[in-house]
Symmetry: C2
Subunit: 115 residues, 2 copies
């Protein structure tokens, strides 16, 4: 398991089950049983997924009697969004404009292919 926070967040979201859990939690807190319901998967497996999400800072766990409801922690998602933001221009510009932009910023970087 990676230690840096961005890697952990990306890795956590790489699993469709965990993304589905996130989607469910966007509608509000939920217990492990509630979260596990949609999945054809044992409870411990879901519990593990929650632990991954928690370590990645994507969720936090509460405590109410014997329940430990999970809830979204937005900041880890924000750090991914922030990371992505620096590349937004690559998909938002038209390809032509992007090519122009790249050629421009590459003028300085014109050190040939040799290594």
């Amino acid at each position: 398991m990676q230690t840096d926070t961005l890697s952990a967040a990306f890795a956590a979201l790489a699993d469709p089950t965990r993304r589905a859990i996130i989607a469910r939690l966007a509608e509000g807190e939920a217990s492990v049983n509630e979260l596990a319901a949609p999945f054809d998967m044992s409870l411990p497996a879901v519990s593990k997924h929650l632990k991954v999400l928690e370590k990645a800072g994507l969720i936090s766990r509460g405590k109410e009697a014997q329940w430990r409801p999970a809830k979204l922690e937005p900041m880890a998602m924000k750090s991914i969004a922030d990371w992505l933001e620096q590349y937004r221009r690559f998909w938002e510009s038209s390809f032509d404009r992007l090519d122009g932009y790249l050629q421009k910023i590459q003028k300085a970087d014109d050190s040939g292919r040799g290594n």
Copy 2:
């Protein structure tokens, strides 16, 4: 390796080396040797990382003589950005407003804890 495109993209970006490669490619195309230079890692290892990025649709490879320069493919990053977008309100709202919002949308979803 996951087959769905979003999982593959998240997984690919979960590795710091691959994110560094992406960062480098944001400045323009580069050969494997150029990309490998900053890393204390064998060339085949970098080649593998490129293959992961390519399978995830994050980069594409060209062919110029014996070089196979890599370049960014923005659309895979866009699909991650789009996925994240649906959660933006969670980190952009103030926590108070968010709580209010959540309580509102949870009225319908008020099925207790039992399972």
